[in-house]
């Protein structure tokens, strides 16, 4: 469907041309002013799409960054008489500084708490603005802010000002779209969909979120500065909640996470009240109803509707590229690992070694601490005591106990989850390529490598399918591919054969044996002894957080204590 791609691109260009034609040929001075305001909001909303749409953090501070940018320009411009070349960069820098300052503690919070914390910050800033009249002019604000001066040219109101603002929008939107499509945007999307999985794939979740938050502040500050140059006054209104609501609404009506949606949403929602002006006092009621109708009828926004009319062309698959060689790793030694939840000792002084080129089985009744052990090794839980040492090919062993999951992943440990966790909306290729984002220089190369891994596991044909519709067995296979794409020294698999048919199990066993043969230390948590025993070179049995037996498979399963633990005949 080549023509669809062409139509999509053409409609973008056509929209831009129509906007330009309207501005140059038809718009009244008032119309141009409305268009300028729409540009200001578009810029703020583009930034909001980065943190909220791509990063999934419902920040309610975007209006604040907008307002802070506005006040920096207002104060420096009207109180100190500074000119645009000095005020504009500072109007970007101050919100970014604020974002970095508050972001560090606040971004650790879970969704609703994060939203509320950002709202709290917004309220504090608003109170400061209203109650420090010497600096901000208090409730009245500051008048007499100078206009934009570019290289000695004072930009007049009307068409030139609209042009400058929309040039900033174009620049900002293109930059954001490129970021969103690149490695960084992909990584951020994974952080939104599944932060735990993102961390176990070596992505620094905290840093990605903080960067996104700071970037949103950059756009917010720029928009605020431009808005003050348009209005020539700044008052506490720019910091009040309706600004934030407007930006959030534009992002959702335009289409969450879509840069083009941010621009469309801003143009539409700024003009909507103008179109309903004829209704006089009740026009804002109609505006509210229109907003309600929009979110109910088009939950994926305008861009989502356009996608349904003109489905995006599925991208051609890349040529698979074999993974680069990696020095094989050493053994993983777990020593005295312990973790208690409340009074329950989930893992209680566990020690064992995972040798390279060997599949080690980890067995034990439900609740014996198998999954907790994997969580402790992979960094999702912090152990109370013990060491996790990974011998590198050429380095001395490092203690990874208590390290962050992304550091553990970078050291060469990969894992899968008991309930395969893949983002529903991503294609299989995208999901597996996420494992390479931290290592490969580009998305294209990450996908080429990912395809090679999928083909090796015999599921290359799934590459273009969305993960959401996959049956359980294939989901597990894709998750295994994602873990293997990390080229780990140690691979931890949590019940990889659960729910598979006998044929699928035999196939999986063959693949796991091949992986181990390449020098990987593999740990398999499994209940199915028929699957595990022929595959494993060694088996560790756990019960109530302690190692009951550790040895050759045949010996361990006949060990009286293991038999007793499984059959529940009291403790030995």
């Amino acid at each position: 469907m080549k023509w669809r791609g062409a139509v999509r691109r053409a409609s973008l260009v056509l929209g831009a041309v129509a906007l330009l034609a309207y501005a140059v040929l038809y718009a009244s001075p008032y119309g141009l002013r409305v268009l300028t305001v729409a540009g200001v909001y578009a810029l703020a909303t583009v930034g909001f799409q980065v943190v909220f749409g791509l990063g999934g953090a419902l920040s309610l501070a975007q209006g604040t960054f907008f307002g802070v940018g506005a006040y920096v320009t207002g104060i420096l411009g009207s109180q100190l008489g500074w000119a645009f070349p000095a005020t504009f960069p500072l109007s970007l820098a101050v919100p970014v500084g604020l974002a970095l300052l508050v972001g560090l503690p606040v971004l650790r919070l879970e969704s609703h708490y994060f939203a509320l914390a950002t709202l709290g910050i917004a309220q504090v800033v608003l109170l400061l603005a209203v109650n420090t009249p010497d600096l901000t002019g208090g409730a009245n604000g500051l008048a007499g802010v100078p206009g934009i001066v570019l290289f000695g040219w004072a930009v007049p109101r009307g068409l030139p000002l609209a042009g400058v603002v929309w040039a900033c929008v174009a620049l900002g939107a293109v930059a954001a779209a490129m970021l969103a499509r690149g490695r960084w945007g992909r990584a951020l999307t994974l952080v939104r969909d599944d932060p735990l999985a993102a961390a176990t794939l070596g992505l620094d979740v905290g840093r990605l979120r903080l960067t996104a938050f700071a970037l949103s502040a950059l756009y917010g500050g720029a928009a605020g500065a431009l808005s003050v140059h348009t209005q020539r006054v700044v008052s506490p209104e720019v910091l009040e909640f309706p600004v934030m609501v407007a930006i959030l609404t534009m992002a959702v009506v335009g289409g969450r996470g879509r840069i083009a949606g941010a621009v469309l949403g801003a143009v539409l929602l700024v003009h909507l009240p103008e179109w309903f002006r004829g209704l006089e006092r009740s026009y804002l009621i109609v505006y509210g109803l229109a907003l309600l109708a929009a979110i109910v009828l088009a939950p994926h926004g305008i861009t989502g509707l356009l996608d349904r009319l003109l489905p995006p062309r599925s991208r051609p698959l890349p040529e698979p590229a074999p993974l680069p060689d990696r020095a094989s790793g050493g053994a993983l030694r777990v020593e005295g690992l312990a973790k208690a939840f409340g009074g329950v000792r989930a893992v209680d002084g566990v020690s064992f070694t995972l040798e390279p080129r060997r599949v080690t089985g980890l067995i034990g009744p439900n609740g014996s601490g198998k999954t907790t052990l994997i969580n402790l090794i992979s960094g999702l839980e912090r152990p109370d005591a013990g060491r996790v040492r990974l011998a590198g090919g050429d380095m001395s062993p490092r203690d990874l106990a208590g390290a962050r999951p992304d550091r553990v992943a970078r050291a060469g440990i990969a894992r899968t989850f008991q309930a395969a966790s893949l983002p529903d909306d991503a294609t299989v290729l995208e999901a597996v390529a996420a494992a390479r984002l931290e290592r490969d220089p580009s998305v294209a190369q990450a996908e080429a490598h990912a395809l090679a891994v999928l083909e090796r596991l015999g599921v290359g044909g799934l590459a273009g399918r969305p993960c959401g519709g996959l049956p359980a067995a294939l989901r597990r296979r894709v998750e295994l591919a994602r873990a293997l794409a990390r080229q780990p020294a140690v691979l931890l698999l949590d019940e990889p054969a659960a729910g598979l048919t006998d044929g699928e199990k035999a196939d999986l066993a063959r693949h796991l044996a091949a992986v181990a043969a390449e020098g990987v230390a593999v740990l398999v948590v499994e209940h199915d002894m028929g699957f595990l025993l022929p595959l494993a070179g060694r088996v560790v049995a756990l019960d109530q957080g302690r190692v009951l037996a550790d040895g050759l498979p045949g010996e361990v399963v006949r060990h009286p204590a293991v038999v007793a633990a499984y059959l529940g005949e009291g403790s030995p």
């Binding site: 419902l58 708490y113 914390a117 504090v124 609404t249 804002l284 939950p299 008991q418 949590d494």
Partner: protein, 293 residues
């Protein structure tokens, strides 16, 4: 500070907190039943206050007589809100409901402006609006009446939820909708009932607040913030926590603004909130969600 002044402030704080508690209670009930934030809750409080203002000339009786009318009409409004802004977005990301209830808030706010004008209005007092002498202490009758009405409504909610079949079904829906449906609970009807109850309580809070504090069409945004903070302080999803959180906010507001000023009180409230959030990222009483990987 004189001990009588402190007692006076305490009563004012508890009265304000009782009204806030109704707002937060409605908010948290809907939150538990749907998992979604009803951002119109503040505007629904305003609507209840405006309704009382509009009804007052028609009912030549003290404000307490308006309470049942406000409760019933607001419950009907709650049903309307859930049908228009929640049911169509069910099963989609919760942020959709966040936006749709913002839209409802915009409609309510501007509807009130068009119908009644932007200026502050006062609802009639619950009883006579006079003062009572308790020894040396002079207290506003309205403050005592607010505490009594709010306590009665909160007690009624607790009783229904703890003791009746309807309450068991409502709780089952809030805990696990899938499981409740499997057990034969009419989940959709329960969610509608929760919206009706939450909105009725918002309306009651509007009636209680709109005498001493007046009501303006834009009053909602301040109230939703306080409900949000109360629910966070009390532990996201905890019903007694929301009531406790509302009382803490009101006492803080009244106490600090008496000693310093209202803006300082608000600033201190938000800063305290931030410190609490940073020190305990799961909220004061919240548990860390752990994934069974």
């Amino acid at each position: 500070m004189h001990v009588l002044t402190v007692a006076q402030l305490l009563l004012n704080g508890v009265a304000l907190g009782a009204a806030y508690a109704l707002v937060a209670l409605g908010f948290v009930l809907v939150l538990n039943a749907t998992g979604a934030v009803n951002f119109a809750q503040g505007d629904l409080v305003m609507a209840g206050g405006m309704l009382a203002v509009a009804l007052a000339p028609l009912v030549p009786a003290p404000g307490i007589a308006l309470l049942p009318v406000v409760l019933v009409l607001m419950a009907a409004l709650g049903l309307l809100v859930s049908v228009a802004a929640y049911l169509p977005l069910r099963g989609r990301p919760h942020v959709g409901v966040f936006i749709s209830t913002i839209a409802v808030g915009i409609v309510l706010q501007n509807g009130a402006t068009v119908l009644l004008g932007p200026e502050p209005r006062a609802a009639p007092p619950l009883l006579s609006g006079g003062t009572l002498r308790l020894g040396e202490l002079v207290v506003a009758e309205q403050s005592l009446a607010i505490v009594a009405v709010a306590a009665l409504l909160i007690g009624a909610q607790q009783w229904v939820f703890a003791r009746t079949q309807l309450g068991r079904r409502l709780r089952a829906t809030a805990q696990d909708p899938e499981m409740a449906r499997a057990c034969g609970v009419p989940v959709t009807a329960m969610i509608l009932a929760t919206f009706a109850l939450g909105t009725a309580y918002a309306g009651a809070a509007g009636l209680l607040l709109a005498n001493q504090f007046f009501v303006t069409p834009t009053a909602g945004s301040d109230l939703i913030l306080k409900a949000y903070i109360a629910v966070t302080l009390g532990g996201w999803g905890s019903v007694p926590g929301a009531v406790a959180g509302a009382l803490v906010i009101a006492l803080f507001e009244v106490g600090v603004s008496a000693v310093l000023s209202y803006p300082v009180a608000m600033g201190a409230l938000y800063v305290t909130l931030l410190v609490v959030l940073v020190a305990r990222p799961q909220g004061l009483f919240g548990e860390v969600a752990r994934r069974r990987a």
